[in-house]
């Protein structure tokens, strides 16, 4: 028996980087279960709650360590709300967020979570403090969390994202271009040495040529720092390029989750299929002839009953109007999940079990 066993305090305090991995490689980095967030709509002279916007309703998914999960969907489908719930920017109504085996709120405090999870927003200008220099902005989080040498960290990260610290450190956000500002936001997120970075439409506001540069940077950083990304975007080409798996949302619910190649080959949910065929064709001799969907997405204040997509679905039958389809693996491909009665042989849909007709 050695002295250190008797007196644990004598053990050398080494915080090796691997020690941050608590659950081991098999434990998903994030597990979300039945996440729900409804926003009240107030109105009238008394400001009473008139209705609820069902922004996120029963969303469940997992993100494995080191993978990139792409989230796609139209405006109002709840993708940004999901991201904000994940990093605790807004409080969830119901559900669980489990980060590397620790539940948010029980084993893990919000402050601890934010050391490990950082976010990059769409509007690069609005998300930087206009009165802080770039260096101060990047170093700010590290200072708050009490990490050592925040300014040194900031400068080395600025260099890493392609902004020369000697030229840019003392500039203010308005003196940079959009692409440069988004690099600052990425550097700021990385200053905390996070394990998960949530990118909410992070490249959508950039010009195409600059977008490609930032995407290259994101891939490099992911490899270099062993990051896990949740990448939210409405641009399917971008999501396909960067993601390992894709999650499709519609009106606050997950309708399909699948590995990129699998979903690119076959879209199991009619909504996903419409979303994919709405992409502009790149062949001038073979342009799109028919819009895949008519009208706009319904209002999430009062979403349709049953399957929320049934009002716009070509294959909707009676059962779709009343019963909510469950998200489950496709027969023969358990990795590929879809929430559609067409794939459930027992659902009672006249074409059940045959997959989505052409």
């Amino acid at each position: 028996m050695s002295a250190t066993d008797l007196f644990p305090a004598l053990k050398p305090k080494t915080a090796a980087p691997e020690s941050r991995d608590k659950g081991g490689p098999a434990q998903p980095l994030v597990i979300v279960r039945d996440l729900q967030k409804h926003f009240p709509v107030r109105g009238g002279i008394l400001g009473r709650t008139q209705a609820m916007v069902q922004a996120v309703d029963g969303v469940s998914f997992e993100v494995k360590k080191g993978e990139t999960l792409g989230i796609v969907g139209e405006s109002g489908c709840g993708k940004s709300t999901t991201a904000r719930l994940l990093i605790g920017l807004i409080e969830k109504d119901k559900g669980e967020i489990i980060f590397d085996g620790q539940g948010l709120g029980d084993a893990l405090s919000l402050k601890e979570l934010r050391k490990d999870v950082q976010m990059v927003f769409q509007d690069s200008y609005a998300s930087l403090n206009p009165r802080l220099t770039i260096e101060d902005s990047v170093a700010f989080g590290a200072k708050v969390q009490g990490l050592d040498d925040p300014n040194g960290r900031a400068r080395s990260l600025m260099a890493r994202v392609g902004l020369d610290p000697d030229r840019f450190a003392h500039r203010y956000p308005h003196e940079l271009s959009g692409g440069q500002r988004q690099r600052v936001n990425i550097a700021r997120a990385l200053a905390m040495s996070p394990r998960l970075v949530v990118l909410d439409e992070a490249v959508s506001a950039l010009d195409k040529s600059v977008e490609a540069q930032v995407l290259n940077l994101l891939s490099d950083l992911r490899r270099e720092f062993g990051l896990t990304y949740i990448f939210i975007s409405h641009d399917l080409n971008v999501v396909r390029y960067i993601s390992d798996r894709i999650l499709v949302m519609y009106l606050g619910e997950v309708v399909e989750v699948a590995p990129v190649d699998s979903i690119w080959r076959e879209q199991a949910h009619p909504y996903t299929r419409s979303l994919f065929s709405a992409m502009p064709s790149m062949d001038p001799d073979n342009r799109t002839q028919e819009p895949p969907l008519a009208g706009d997405p319904p209002n999430p204040i009062d979403p349709p009953k049953g399957c929320r997509f049934h009002t716009r679905c070509r294959f909707a039958s009676e059962v779709c109007k009343t019963r909510v389809p469950k998200l489950q693996g496709l027969p023969g491909n358990a990795e590929h999940l879809a929430a559609c009665h067409l794939h459930d042989a027992t659902s009672g849909h006249p074409k059940a079990g045959q997959g989505v007709p052409q």
Binding site: P280, D283, D296
Partner: protein
């Protein structure tokens, strides 16, 4: 038949604390009933070109040289009554944000009717029936009810349809569309694009469609002109541009579209950022970002090659490519 649009050597500067050379020696022509996409990034001068076409730029701060003719009318000399008649009558515009472009205090029907009354001098009842007909044509369901809606009561896609109905109510010869689908969701965007394509055929008008998205340009237009730093660097039919782009900038844009890129492969990104345009370009504006730039590119403006009728490339690189063919 007169050309629908003939822009010659248009140069446009904004004066103020600092001067911005927004458009530098642009020439462009369109035949009747053609659809042209102006493709480029922010700050390349696409929207400024459209605004110059409608005379919407602040006269005190703008210096314009060159010539713009629409259907034989010299646009730059128009003023007062004639300009009013021209705007909306001959040429009209669809903006990116319909929520900002529509007047929030009038019903959509009244806004369309107002424009019809002004231009055609018809009675209010007649104008309202034209408005109703227009809402039908842009496929707004239950148009009769929607006529009496205010813009805030409509969804984004519906508002853009109203905007199109308003722009087309007086049957213009030329429709200018400034990124009309950028603010819309993907499934709504494709609906609006197909609608515009149909209406263009039906009315036989010319369309200039400003966009930064190559996919959108492919869906809507027969011809494409690529703009960079206030200049047109390449022009041709859509398939010429898509299948055999010759200017390095166009090639870079096509690569950045990520269509058919292998997953995880390194992107062939154009380095750097567009120039600030504070000085008039004396050499190729793209040279600082171009992988093929030579001393020649940095010394003088690039020559414009025309490999085929109505096809042009402003790049020294285009010359050897021609000789090789």
């Amino acid at each position: 038949m007169t050309k629908l649009l003939d822009i010659q050597n248009l140069t446009l500067r904004f004066k103020g604390k600092r001067t911005v050379h927004a458009i530098n020696d642009v020439s462009l022509s369109m035949e009747q009933g053609e659809t042209l996409a102006l493709l480029g990034e922010s700050g390349s001068g696409k929207s400024v070109t459209l605004k110059a076409l409608l005379g919407l730029l602040p006269p005190k701060r703008t210096e314009i040289e060159g010539k713009i003719e629409v259907n034989g009318t010299d646009v730059l000399s128009l003023s007062g009554r004639k300009l009013q008649k021209y705007r909306g009558g001959e040429v009209s515009m669809v903006f990116q944000e319909p929520a900002l472009a529509l007047d929030p205090v009038y019903t959509v029907g009244r806004q369309i009717a107002e424009s019809v009354m002004r231009h055609k001098g018809v009675s209010k009842a007649e104008a309202m029936s034209t408005a109703l007909d227009m809402l039908d044509r842009v496929r707004i369901p239950s148009a009769n009810r929607r006529l009496h809606n205010y813009p805030h009561e409509l969804s984004g896609g519906m508002r853009q349809r109203v905007m199109i109905a308003l722009a087309l109510a007086c049957r213009p010869r030329l429709l200018l569309a400034d990124e009309p689908t950028t603010a819309l969701d993907a499934t709504v965007q494709i609906q609006i694009l197909l609608l515009l394509r149909e209406l263009q055929k039906e009315f036989g008008m010319g369309v200039i469609f400003v966009t930064h998205d190559i996919g959108v340009a492919v869906e809507i237009s027969e011809r494409v002109a690529v703009m960079y730093a206030g200049q047109i660097v390449e022009e041709g039919t859509t398939s010429e541009i898509i299948k055999s782009a010759q200017h390095p900038y166009t090639q870079g844009l096509l690569a950045a579209n990520l269509h058919d890129v292998e997953r995880g492969a390194r992107l062939n990104a154009i380095p750097g950022a567009p120039p600030s345009l504070e000085a008039k370009p004396e050499s190729c504006s793209f040279a600082p970002r171009c992988p093929h730039a030579t001393a020649e590119c940095r010394a003088a403006l690039p020559p414009v090659f025309t490999p085929a009728p109505r096809r042009r490339v402003a790049c020294v690189m285009a010359a050897p490519a021609l000789a090789a063919e």
